[in-house]
């Protein structure tokens, strides 16, 4: 649990864009993992198993409409008071704007370290489809980042 809590938290944070919700989600995922520990047949698959549980818990959260309820608790300190053009923040903002179909496999690969085949199994799709999404996600990131750099240079 200690080994994976940081990666899971970051993944949850990028899915929810809310640190409190992310922490709740990780808590729920670990609670469910404890109760289903006997189902894990291969310890080498523990990380992928935990990520899959977290994805499922998020879906449950949406189904229970907890996300809509918690939206009112958005921590305003997390919102930039004005558009930020700091290099790190800019890339983060571009990632946040990616469509979820692109963002999710990207997060699983960069934060989780999973291969395209592993991500395909987690998202219940084909490896080719995951490769296409990842290619497009990185193309979009690179294009947006380059354009942002040009805008900065022009100011």
């Amino acid at each position: 649990m200690r080994a994976y809590s940081a990666d899971l938290y970051r993944y949850a944070h990028w899915l929810c864009r809310d640190r409190h919700l992310a922490e709740d989600l990780v808590q729920e995922a670990f609670a469910r993992a404890w109760s289903a520990w006997a189902d894990l047949r291969d310890l080498a698959q523990a990380k992928a198993w935990l990520f899959a549980i977290l994805r499922n818990e998020r879906a449950r959260m949406f189904a229970r409409k907890q996300v809509a309820t918690l939206a009112g608790e958005l921590d305003e300190s997390q919102l930039p008071p004005a558009p930020s053009f700091e290099p790190g923040l800019e890339m983060a903002q571009i990632v946040a704007m990616l469509p979820e179909t692109y963002r999710e496999p990207l997060l699983l690969q960069v934060l989780g370290g999973f291969s395209c085949a592993e991500i395909a199994a987690m998202l219940a799709t084909s490896e080719g489809a995951v490769m296409t999404r990842l290619t497009r996600a990185r193309q979009a990131l690179r294009q947006q980042y380059t354009e942002a750099g040009k805008r900065k240079a022009a100011r």
């Binding site: 958005l74 305003e76 983060a92 903002q93 960069v110 395209c116 290619t135």
Partner: protein
């Protein structure tokens, strides 16, 4: 393997190149430069994604006690919110704040900062069509259309959120059908200045970073869009 195939594989998974792709990389200077560029982007991406993890997260997960205390706090916060909302409703019953639509525009902009940070060239024709459906005619664009999105607003209504690139900088225009302020409203909050003006089918709101710029953009909107058409 050709260069196109290599690019696709490198972008799909920069860290796991097949032996065939690795061989191509070693023999192709263009793809070698491309791979280096992708690796640089990947490092920036990793830096951006590595968000700080709350102190003691793993310990709290193990002890399983963090959630309960915060949930109690949430219940109290919810109860306090209900009391406050009820009190405000009683105070303002029948008399909405005189600047509510202008403030709503600022609130929406603050909640969607990405509308100003992820600019794309939006379709000017789409803007003309939106205005037409709103009962107006665009005589000239107020600026370069950089963002168009139909958004749920914070008061439960829906409106078009448009961002223009103008000589004044980026200007936000909200077109909201259905509700109308009695008169022009202005508001300033969170470093933003807004002006909401009634139109025959609803209202529009202009938001910029200064009251002077907002007034100039509003004047431009009035000159370039005929709302009575």
């Amino acid at each position: 393997m050709n260069c196109l195939e290599f690019h696709r594989l490198k972008l799909a998974d920069p860290r796991r190149l097949s032996a065939e792709a690795q061989t191509h990389l070693e023999g192709c200077p263009d793809c070698f430069a491309f791979a280096q560029d992708v690796d640089r982007s990947e490092r920036k991406l990793e830096q951006a994604l590595i968000t700080p993890v709350p102190d003691g997260l793993a310990d709290r997960m193990l002890l399983g006690r963090r959630g309960s205390s915060r949930r109690v706090w949430r219940v109290w916060a919810l109860a306090a919110s209900v009391v406050l909302a009820t009190a405000l409703t009683v105070v303002y019953l029948g008399s909405a704040p005189p600047d509510q639509y202008a403030r709503l525009a600022i609130e929406h902009l603050v909640n969607e900062p990405e509308a100003l940070t992820t600019l794309r060239d939006a379709d000017a024709e789409a803007f003309r069509t939106i205005v037409q459906n709103f009962g107006g005619t665009v005589k000239a664009l107020p600026g370069r259309v950089r963002y168009i999105r139909l958004c749920p607003l914070e008061d439960g209504t829906t409106g078009w959120h448009i961002v223009f690139e103008t000589p004044e900088g980026l200007a936000t225009l909200l077109l909201v059908p259905g509700k109308q302020p009695d008169a022009t409203q202005v508001a300033s909050a969170e470093g933003w200045s807004a002006l909401a003006r009634p139109t025959p089918r609803g209202y529009y709101a202009v938001v910029t970073a200064s009251s002077a710029a907002t007034a100039r953009i509003d004047r431009m909107v009035q000159e370039r869009i005929d709302w009575k058409a």
